[in-house]
């Protein structure tokens, strides 16, 4: 039986009938039936402003053309987007936008992926009738150390200023002057401080806001684009790695509403130069105090034999290794080398457990109270969280930022009638977070969940897969067979250390005590992506792949397993997992992995919750128990 749905509206656009929920903009209703209405100022995550006037369409019974980006649908509305009037006007508004635009497309970074350029081709006039001196403005204005602004290219769509107000809440960018003299800028021309400036360049519909790092680097059509995950932190923001001639040009956002909401932070976005390979280095073995170049086969045989012979062993993997690498590394240590001394951490932390991620990132918006324990520390550890928190605040969520020690303050501030409480904290403050969670669970009616921000793009994976001295894969207890953690190694008689590092952002940085110990160690195997100070004390150097050079999966702080893909081809470097396998096989194992996928398959068999990898979903430990 047909039911009347009062929350649905049926209208006609260009002769096609479409039914959409009440409160839908004409623009979105048109999009639903693949009718493309050109826009510049409109942005799905920002309130409509209707300033560019590009999207004007005919609506029957309305005397004037209406902005599709700002007018909501109504029952029986008849919209026309391709009439002569609309087409003539579209030519007119594009001619307007271009009279003061420098048309320097041949030297503009945006050329080739520029909405103004594209829409001029599609809807604009072939030639301009404007025969006067254009209004001139400053070009190449440094807005900050990250962004350069070309005020002549700007078409004043307000997207960047609205981002600054509505998305990041920092209100750093503003409109200055008026009329044709209007410019965007910061207060007193002071350098912008925001950690989200890179997003301005992405939402800019022209080449006005450009990333300093990407200026004049490439034409968009020369880029090889690879879908991957940001190596910056444990947030797991999705990126598109754009490379030109096998060199990274930039990281762009790749919207995943559940994770990043389409945004990146500058810490992550502009971290890519760290992954630039400077030299084609080769495996090396220290002989008579000097590092000598050897082949991979030599280094693998030497390493395997040396590890086997060295007695007490320890292995450290950076929290930027892929799950597949982590899986094999712990197998190599536990099964082949019979050493339980595994770690990925830099300090002693509270025990890791699946309960650390009961609050998914996207659910922050659906809490009514969110406690950010440690305040700015949490934001610094996963900067895009700030955007989610600000969005939540705008939706009415009470976000409480307190010091890491302010458990009591937070406890008092959360009302007993709270329906859903979220707690965010860094690994270092986990103890306080657990304490607060326990107390709140007794106080409030609703659920209390926590999300612990891990370290590194795969810190969560390292815990899940047991790169810990006291936990095996899946957080299983080792029942008395626990090894020692990193901070204990210098005092525990460890004689040989294997360090695997695939990101300089999360590398093995020795403490003073460790430095002393390291320089006296009989064997240091350093399996890393590019030369680093640790080379000095290494006896064996095995070149490996950077985070950006490998295929695999990583697990974000909320337990989401996502694929990373090879964006840069460093073919002369043997895959890290293959090196682990060959060391193992040299020592008598019979591993026969032929691809990363084969390891992923084995990993899922060993750890069924990791089947989440197939959907890029979160690992749900509780369901499997």
């Amino acid at each position: 039986m047909a039911t009347v749905q009062t929350d649905q509206v049926t209208l006609t656009i260009d002769g096609q009938s479409v039914t959409v929920p009440k409160g839908t903009l004409i623009l979105d209703a048109a999009k639903a039936i693949n009718i493309d209405i050109p826009i510049f100022c409109s942005h799905p995550k920002m309130a409509p402003v209707a300033v560019c006037r590009m999207c004007l369409v005919e609506v029957e019974k309305m005397p004037k053309l209406q902005p599709a980006c700002a007018v909501y649908v109504a029952e029986g509305m008849v919209v026309k987007t391709t009439t002569e009037q609309v087409a003539k006007y579209q030519k007119g508004v594009l001619e307007f936008l271009l009279i003061n635009h420098p048309l320097d497309c041949p030297i503009c970074d945006k050329g080739g992926e520029c909405p103004l350029q594209d829409q001029t081709f599609q809807y604009g006039p072939g030639a301009s009738r404007f025969e006067f001196q254009k209004a001139h403005f400053d070009k190449g204005v440094p807005l900050s150390d990250k962004i350069v602004l070309d005020r002549e290219r700007c078409i004043l769509c307000w997207r960047c200023t609205r981002f600054s107000e509505e998305i990041s809440g920092e209100r750093e960018l503003a409109l200055i002057q008026r009329g044709v003299h209007t410019i965007i800028g910061t207060f007193n021309d002071e350098p912008a401080q925001s950690n989200y400036q890179g997003n301005w360049t992405e939402i800019c519909p022209v080449g006005a806001l450009t990333s300093r790092q990407y200026r004049f680097v490439s034409r968009p059509w020369d880029l090889d684009r690879t879908a991957s995950v940001c190596p910056g932190c444990s947030m797991g923001c999705n990126i598109q790695l754009d490379a030109r001639s096998n060199k990274i040009g930039r990281f762009q956002s790749r919207e995943n509403l559940a994770v990043d909401d389409g945004w990146l932070c500058d810490t992550g976005r502009y971290s890519f130069p760290n992954f630039q390979r400077l030299t084609q280095d080769r495996p090396q073995i220290r002989r008579d105090g000097r590092l000598e170049r050897v082949t991979y086969d030599e280094v693998i045989a030497f390493t395997a034999d040396a590890l086997k012979a060295s007695g007490q062993l320890a292995g450290w993997v950076s929290p930027a290794a892929s799950n597949e690498e982590l899986f094999l590394f712990q197998r190599l240590f536990r099964e082949v080398l019979a050493s339980p001394n595994l770690d990925h951490r830099s300090a002693v932390l509270e025990d890791a457990e699946p309960d650390d991620m009961t609050l998914p990132i996207a659910d922050i918006e659906h809490c009514d109270q969110v406690v950010v324990l440690g305040g700015q520390d949490v934001i610094d550890a996963a900067p895009v969280l700030h955007l989610r928190l600000f969005k939540s605040q705008r939706k009415g969520v009470n976000v409480l930022k307190v010091g890491a020690a302010d458990v009591k303050k937070a406890l008092d501030a959360v009302p007993a009638e709270a329906q859903g409480v979220g707690i965010l904290a860094t690994e270092a403050n986990k103890k306080a977070a657990v304490e607060l969670q326990g107390k709140l669970q007794k106080k409030v009616k609703g659920s209390v969940r926590r999300l612990i921000v891990t370290t590194g793009p795969n810190g969560r994976g390292a815990k899940d897969l047991g790169i810990l001295p006291h936990r095996g894969p899946g957080y299983v207890s080792l029942n008395g067979k626990s090894g020692k953690g990193r901070v204990e190694w210098p005092g525990a008689g460890v004689k040989a250390l294997y360090v695997h590092e695939s990101s300089p952002l999360h590398g093995f940085v020795p403490t003073d005590a460790e430095s002393m110990w390291l320089s006296a160690l009989p064997l240091v195997v350093f399996h890393r992506f590019k030369p680093s100070p640790l080379d000095e004390v290494a006896h064996v150097i095995i070149p490996g792949h950077a985070f950006t050079e490998k295929d695999g999966t990583v697990t974000s702080m909320e337990g989401r397993v996502q694929r990373i893909r090879k964006g840069i081809d460093a073919a002369w470097v043997r895959e890290d997992w293959r090196v682990f396998q060959e060391i193992a096989n040299h020592l008598g194992a019979d591993w026969e992995y032929e691809s990363v996928e084969a390891i992923t398959g084995d990993l899922v068999r060993a750890l069924p919750p990791y089947r989440a990898v197939n959907e890029g979903a979160r690992v749900l430990w509780s369901e499997s128990r």
Binding site: A50, R53, K64, F96, I99, N100, A135, R178, V180
Partner: protein, 428 residues
């Protein structure tokens, strides 16, 4: 028809700006009477009177008041005293001569709509008028017309006086509200209309100075008295600001419907220097030009609209036969170009382009095709802009092209302004 001083009736009285003098002429009797009535009765009274807003759009005042959503408080009244339309100077006159009349109107309107805090947004350049209002507010406060408990009737009202900072756009009601809140003066997206979501997001009524100045008289004399004046759709009187090439420029309060001829020829003393009338512009800088053949049109919203222009904010700019219409249009276009807030593309870029084109006519470098180019630019601005500022920037120049296309072409063929040449030859 003809002169009908209602608002300006006592303007000859000396020291009318003082409370005691204003009260002697019957001042604040309207407010006192209003306080005896129910707010709803007042709204009905004003609706019945047929009073239409004097700021330009001519929207029925009572209807505007009744759009406020029931039960949503606080709500605000904002008096728009940002008179910045070139050619208009009536609000300035009304405030200067009788600030208490304006204030009394504000108090009546506030009481009628249930507002406890009203604002006056006054044009920044109107410093003496600002001072006049400031002392009027202070006097009224001392006398108990403003305060927590007005005249012991339990009504609370205060008035905040705010000076603008010199932007034409802030006369547009939503830009005015944005400016009043402390932001850049830029128009807001409508809907929501100010009646639903106005100042600080609260229900708000924005009324012009002359509109509120009518209220004390309507309350005292009744809707029928008011309705007996003027035309069926344009009741009452209006203060017309006459300027330009007339012998006696100034403000004239006339009953609505009075022929334009009477205003210019009788009250204005006709065109100056014994010259002939070439054109005139009612309403202000925005409005379309009219010709001598329109002299018998009545001064009334609908009649002027029927003739092809708009009554707007009550200006009457008279142009004699020596006026270069291209130059007149150029000056107005330059004004709009200068005042465009820059928010929307058509107004920001279109006024810039038109301004350049008009300069080219003036410099004698224009092409014959530039006339149609101007019309084409107008097509992409009018009705496409974010607010009426952009739309209005095209009305006068396009009406001039309609009636005086030959003058544009003369500028082209003579490579310059023929009127300037004539003037120079006359001097030589």
């Amino acid at each position: 028809m003809g002169l009908k001083p209602v608002l300006t009736k006592d303007f000859h009285t000396e020291n009318l700006e003082q409370l005691s003098v204003y009260e002697r002429t019957g001042g604040y009797a309207g407010f006192k009477k209003a306080l005896e009535m129910q707010p709803d009765e007042l709204v009905e009274l004003v609706k019945k009177s047929g009073l239409r807003g004097r700021g330009g759009a001519g929207f029925p005042t009572g209807n505007k008041w009744s759009f406020l959503p029931k039960g949503v408080y606080p709500r605000y009244l904002v008096c728009n005293a940002d008179e910045s339309e070139p050619g208009c100077f009536k609000d300035r006159y009304l405030i200067e001569k009788s600030p208490h009349q304006v204030l009394e109107g504000i108090l009546i309107a506030s009481y009628a709509i249930g507002c406890n805090l009203a604002f006056i947004y006054i044009r920044g350049e109107y410093l003496p008028q600002h001072e006049a209002l400031e002392s009027a507010i202070e006097e009224a406060r001392q006398a108990g017309y403003l305060g927590k408990n007005v005249l012991g009737k339990g009504y609370e009202i205060d008035v905040i006086l705010h000076r603008g900072a010199g932007a034409y756009i802030c006369g547009e009601e939503t830009a005015l509200l944005t400016s009043l809140e402390g932001y850049r003066g830029e128009p807001r997206l409508k809907p929501p209309f100010p009646a639903i979501k106005g100042l600080y997001g609260k229900p708000t009524v924005v009324n012009n100075v002359e509109t509120v100045a009518n209220l004390p008289h309507i309350v005292i004399n009744g809707a029928d008295w008011f309705g007996a004046m003027g035309t069926p759709t344009g009741k009452g009187t209006r203060v017309w600001c006459m300027s330009g090439h007339v012998n006696r420029p100034g403000n004239y309060e006339l009953e609505n419907g009075t022929p334009i001829r009477e205003l210019i020829e009788e009250h204005g003393g006709g065109v100056w220097k014994n010259r002939k009338l070439k054109a005139f512009q009612p309403g202000g800088a925005s409005m379309m030009v009219l010709l001598p053949e329109h002299l018998d049109v009545g001064l009334d919203f609908d009649a002027i609209q029927k003739a092809g222009s708009l009554a707007g904010a009550g200006a009457m700019v008279v142009m004699d036969e020596t006026t270069c219409m291209v130059d007149a249009a150029r000056r107005y276009v330059k004004f709009f170009h200068h005042e465009s807030c820059g928010k929307c593309t058509p107004c920001r870029e279109g006024t810039f382009w038109m301004s350049n084109l008009f300069d080219r006519f003036e410099a004698g470098e224009a092409k014959a095709t530039d006339v149609d180019l101007l019309l084409d630019i107008g097509y992409s601005i009018d009705g496409r802009s974010f607010c009426p500022l952009g739309d209005a920037s095209t009305w006068f120049p396009r009406s001039v092209i309609k009636f005086f296309r030959d003058e544009f072409l003369e500028h082209v063929s003579e490579k310059g302004c023929p009127f300037k040449k004539m003037a120079q030859e006359a001097v030589a």
